[in-house]
Symmetry: C2
């Protein structure tokens, strides 16, 4: 309960009493309370997003020629680590890798099920005529290959294709001793 | 028809004959033809997006401290203009402005109708008790104000709040003599 009040103070900037009243009115439903606070004019617009606490940094890479650009958020646990040279270097490597290797997702879990189904359909068509038991194995291999193409963590690291990007991150994790996660990225290609 | 073949050559990298056959099979349906080409293993994955022709550049801005970052695509008509100092300067100003002013959309047209409805509902609640005819006017004013808060082109320019961002762009258009458009942007705030 105290946590909820603290969270709402940070996210809305409203006063303690206003928040308590809003929470009571909303039966402790956070989203409803925010709406009540906004209706009362007490909450400040869209400040919330800027205040949630997570450490790390935002890095960018613009490829020479300015036709490809990348923005990436790399998270760690403490502000201290985010200011180390090792962490900054990792963020730079990742931004460069994303520019070069065009991932569509960070993790395998983020690939939508429909997309995987569509891929499977295409592979099945390519493999038409093969016996069932061979088909299954080849299909698994092809899907694994697809993940290696589109998921950042599964991609071979552009500067050293013997390792995957997740291995590069894991190396940094064991060196730095903190959990490190690629939270999100954006990659713009001119006119596409 | 010839255009379609050319487009498919660029987007799939498949051979001329393969494309003709695929188009015939697909009754000239482009998307179906691409799928056929892919099934035949002739089309290369997701190259298409990188090839559509539009000029301009991708610019980034990382705010000191690396907790806020922006990626923006600014389009113009010719490659020549994209390399001019004026155009590059405009892209830089826009990236900086986006970092500072946190727009959620580029244009008014991009604000989803549900979002506008939700805003109106909140304003109506705030104005409860006012006479109908006053209400309408105030509501229009509040919505216009909301657009100024969340739409990049409607925002007051951070370095000169007497003009809007669209005025800044229009100045550049008349100076440069080409259509200039902000195509898209991404703005990451650490942990949000």
């Amino acid at each position: 309960m105290t946590n909820l009040i603290k969270e709402l103070r940070e996210s809305t900037g409203a006063g303690m009493l206003e928040i308590k009243n809003a929470l009571a009115e909303a039966n402790n439903d956070k989203d409803k309370a925010v709406e009540i606070l906004r209706k009362k004019g007490a909450a400040k617009l869209s400040k919330k997003a800027d205040r949630v606490a997570k450490e790390g940094l935002i890095e960018s890479y613009i490829h020479p020629g300015s036709r490809v650009g990348v923005l990436v958020e790399l998270n760690c646990e403490t502000d201290f680590v985010s200011r180390t040279a090792d962490f900054k270097a990792l963020a730079k490597e990742l931004a460069l890798h994303i520019a070069a290797s065009n991932p569509l997702y960070v993790t395998i879990q983020q690939v939508p099920a429909e997309v995987v189904e569509k891929e499977k359909e295409i592979y099945k068509e390519q493999l038409k005529g093969k016996p069932e038991e061979v088909m299954g194995k080849i299909l698994d291999g092809k899907i694994a290959k697809y993940y290696e193409e589109v998921c950042l963590l599964e991609q071979p690291f552009v500067k050293n294709p013997d390792i995957k990007v997740k291995d590069l991150i894991n190396e940094a994790v064991s060196k730095i001793g903190e959990n490190i996660q690629v939270r999100r990225f954006a990659r713009f290609v001119l006119g596409s």
